[in-house]
Symmetry: none
Subunit: 411 residues, 2 copies
């Protein structure tokens, strides 16, 4: 496990000398994949089409704008999108592919674990890679193969956890004592080359590399004769990065209310307390109310806007937005000092995928919000909102400022 | 005195190869604390409520936007806010606390002087700090104590100047030969600890440290028995930083017209000629006219917008804005090539303090301005102005460009 601590970003370091305690509460609602597009010229986006009386009222009272997740034109994955919203710089301090893959499927990764992504591939008779993606086998086939490997592969002294991801992709977690993550990828990146042997850069990473080599030896054995997926290529060995926690970076005692394990994992990565949020948005709001007294920052994650967008289902995405809108009164009843609603990225139903478009952003803070001329929440109104177009990583300082948690800089 | 020169910022360095002379004149009017907020939901901001026919006409002809003083969410002090407007990076090259405190109260600090902030504190009988702020004594009490120390404390070979600031805070200027500023804070930062002895990192700083130690010895004597303020903790020993001057950074022969000493001090810090601006806005305009031929950049500072905001006096802030508006024809009569009106930060009357909100920005440059759709000067119109939201440190290049003082970059 790498012991390097990720330093505070320059932005966080600037805040550090300015933090002051205040009895204020911040709620950050992340509607996953919120940003959208019209399905046809002249149409409305999902957010513009949805009936959102509560969001519109907050937009009229507060300030809106657009959040640029990473940089103009960059489409982020969920991990990167959330880390940016949380104020961490995913470009300066990237999270390892293995860790993101593990978090993405809700695999629990703890300190000392090493995670890696595995791609099922086809090896030819000569031992070189014939197809790096094993003919893009189905997710079902991937599941079946992982099941088989789970039963028949084991490495002494290291606990292996294997999980299917999607298509030809799977993930492996190595859990044991003194494992390092400075291990090369085994994927040769081109066909007609042999897979590369895993090697470690230091003694702990050599332990991981030996475990990986032994695992791969057994995988080859077990999958001998299987076709097209008869081997695994490993990429992105990585341990949990030591991000400065929300407590260290912002002086916040933060809690996460997320129904999906990926987002609980991301919240844990930055030291949030992960609360039991139940399995419905109603239970999520109930949990928020129950734990309201114990924390001063709440990350509320709403998934259905993303999954419906990925499915290309415009109407279902509208309904997912409306479901969150209907839950807002339960948040407002708690009288947050700062309420922010945005997304980690756009997932236009029209594109059936994450996109690079800036994401609608709404800020409501009764004591200090500066109203703009916008009266509804939607992509077009947000383009002329008072927050302008903000990099996601600059959002946290704005929320802290509105929560009276930042002192003046300089005399 | 530290001999390190602050380098040009990357932005200034880029300009440097592009500067070219032109017979043009730039006026930068800084309405201190200009940005505001409505006092109640649905209301107008100070600038929106004020009657400003001249500013509105310039806004209609020119381009407006919002200036972000330091970074989103950051509330700047006056020193930092002005340095940012002048194009210096206050984060990369912070100005010492002692210098900012001294400038903030209008104490004149010259090359070779060392300034430090003093906090009156309470020492217990055992010599440890019982209260780092001496029970937050009143400004009147602070003044009385400083008076007393002035009469009875002196250090051979070093001229001490003591000034009250506010509440428990005061400032000390050390003037003498060969004084350095690499001296530690004496504040132990926690109670129940002894104050730290001042020590210098190099021979000049050791001279300062010895003078400070001798001063503190006498302070302890003089305040013996006084309660709660019976000692001083010193923080932020600092000499005047060597900022590149306006002449070096921008090729400008700049002059400052400021009625308050703090702003004259800040102007001196960047090598502006400080003109006698009288004591009223009328006299300030008269001085501008008198010196019009001798300079090509004029920094005109207007204080009452900030002081009325700090007092929470919405109507007085409106009046202060209207007073500046009424003075604009006197500036326009001189036919400046570029006229910019903005603020160093926001001071909403509603918050009775500096705030982090972006600041209205107006640019009028007959030869090259690109009009937007905005026809009045105010926070809301500025949100849809043609300048967008600009970091304050990026303003100077824009002013130079409109003044035809920057060549093309690259072939």
């Amino acid at each position: 496990m790498s012991d390097e601590r990720v330093p505070l970003t320059p932005g966080q370091a600037l805040l550090h000398g300015l933090l002051e305690p205040a009895p204020t509460k911040i709620v950050l609602v992340v509607m996953d994949g919120l940003g959208g597009l019209p399905m046809a010229p002249g149409g409305k986006t999902e957010l513009e089409a949805a009936r959102t009386p509560n969001l519109d009222r907050l937009a009229a009272q507060g300030t809106v704008g657009l959040s640029i997740p990473v940089a103009p034109g960059i489409t982020p994955g969920s991990g990167v999108g959330h880390l940016a919203l949380f104020g961490y710089d995913p470009v300066a301090h990237p999270v390892g592919r293995g860790i993101l893959e593990a978090l993405g499927i809700g695999m629990e990764v703890g300190p000392g674990d090493v995670a890696v992504r595995g791609n099922f591939c086809t090896l030819g008779d000569d031992g070189t890679v014939a197809d790096r993606r094993a003919g893009r086998i189905s997710t079902d086939e991937c599941r079946r193969l992982v099941e088989m490997l789970r039963e028949r592969v084991s490495v002494p002294g290291v606990e292996l956890t294997l999980e299917p991801v999607r298509d030809y992709r799977m993930a492996v977690r190595f859990r044991g004592t003194g494992l390092g993550d400075r291990v090369n990828d085994t994927d040769p990146l081109e066909t007609a080359l042999r897979p590369v042997d895993p090697q470690g850069d230091d003694p702990p990473s050599q332990r991981t590399a030996r475990a990986a080599a032994e695992m791969l030896r057994q995988v080859r054995e077990v999958l001998r004769g299987a076709h097209p997926a008869n081997y695994l290529l490993l990429r992105g060995f990585s341990a949990l990065p030591h991000f400065p926690s929300f407590a260290d970076a912002y002086g916040l005692n933060a809690a996460a209310l997320a129904l999906y394990p990926t987002y609980r994992g991301l919240a844990r990565l930055v030291g949030m307390t992960v609360l039991d949020a139940g399995s419905t948005i109603g239970e999520q709001m109930g949990a928020l109310k129950r734990h309201w007294g114990a924390h001063d920052f709440f990350f509320v994650h709403h998934k259905p806007t993303d999954s419906s967008g990925e499915d290309g289902d415009f109407a279902r995405k509208c309904a997912a937005i409306e479901a969150l809108d209907a839950a807002l009164p339960a948040i407002l009843e708690l009288s947050p000092d700062v309420l922010c609603v945005t997304g980690d990225h756009s997932t236009p139903a029209r594109m059936r995928a994450h996109s690079f478009h800036p994401v609608p952003l709404l800020l409501w803070a009764p004591a200090s919000m500066r109203p703009d001329e916008v009266t509804t929440f939607g992509e077009r109104p947000c383009m002329r909102g008072g927050l302008g177009q903000l990099l996601a990583k600059d959002l946290m300082p704005v929320l802290l400022a509105h929560a009276h948690r930042l002192k003046k800089y300089g005399a």
